[in-house]
Symmetry: C2
């Protein structure tokens, strides 16, 4: 079976991207990262890509008339690669219809909460302010909603007494680094079936 070809979308440090790279290196993940796309030219994740000789494409959304033209520019670069799956790894921008239509059911994201609780920015802070005793992370398909796509997998993480946004984020991130690669491997093996909002893992 050929390897799953991935495009990583990121805006920041790319810690999930790095975890995926390491799982590919240790052969626990049958995938190849074809390229990295960023909306932020200063994203530290771009340096990681360079270290691994992975092509990077950076686009400043504000240089485009609208999201459609921005995403068409991305699509034109992606067309140089045989992409099976777009993996959002801290990509801080809503995906628009142009990309969604070109990659239907082929864009996934990881979010640091047990969705549908605490969508959007600063999910860990939201969780602490609400006072939940369990939080976690969710891998889901991307659709036009904010963090509202069909859920593939969720892992719970205890909130501990005295937790700060930093300590809770760190504990959740540790799980993100494991579960995201696990889900990508399920894709690589063709084990994921989509039935409306119900994701079946074979």
């Amino acid at each position: 079976m050929s390897k799953l070809k991935i495009a990583i979308f990121l805006s920041g440090r790319g810690s999930n991207f790095e975890a995926i790279l390491k799982n590919i290196e240790t052969k626990s993940l049958d995938a190849k990262i074809e390229c990295v796309v960023s909306n932020n030219p200063n994203a530290a994740g771009l340096n990681i890509a360079s270290t691994y000789n992975i092509p990077t494409y950076t686009f400043s959304p504000k240089k485009f008339k609208n999201t459609e033209e921005y995403e068409e520019a991305i699509l034109s670069k992606l067309s140089n690669h045989p992409i099976d799956l777009i993996v959002c790894a801290g990509y801080m921008k809503l995906i628009g219809p142009t990309l969604l239509n070109a990659f239907t059911n082929k864009i996934i994201n990881i979010h640091p909460s047990l969705l549908p609780s605490f969508k959007g920015l600063n999910a860990q802070k939201q969780a602490l302010e609400y006072g939940v005793k369990l939080s976690g992370c969710t891998v889901h398909f991307v659709d036009s909603s904010l963090d509202g796509g069909a859920i593939i997998r969720q892992v719970s993480v205890d909130v501990k007494e005295g937790d700060t946004e930093e300590t809770l984020s760190k504990r959740i991130l540790k799980q993100e680094h494991i579960v995201y690669s696990n889900v990508i491997q399920l894709f690589a093996k063709g084990h994921i079936t989509i039935k409306n909002r119900n994701i079946i893992i074979n």
Copy 2:
């Protein structure tokens, strides 16, 4: 230390009530159920109370002018007992200011979801329709909001492929029967401290 005196509020079969009774019988819970209050004269949970010779008080809300008078009638019966804690066990009615003021931070509820996801009725059905992969149950203080009070403890439960509302409810209920008594025991031992929405377990 004297036993924690409890009033159970229920509207239905009272399966959590029964679990609490069994944990008291086996001495894993240092509590005494003083009385059972129901808004439903046909609640099967009332029969369980009779079996155990526990006083029951039934009130039909529609026979009262408003929630205030309904709850004042409840209060007048509760005043016959030294109640430390009101435990809602399938009590399908919002608690109003009259009871909340009389029992501030002394009313708890258990809800079959990982709050704040899936508040209100049919939480398990809501969870299945959304397509979450983790659900569970939440023990929380009751305030004037619907299932929005400060969270004391949460337990996660896997959603499995092919789950129906019935199978998921059953799996969650099994955890409810354990965690609710655990939390009540923490009350009995004075181990719960309330700091706004942040519940500290000593």
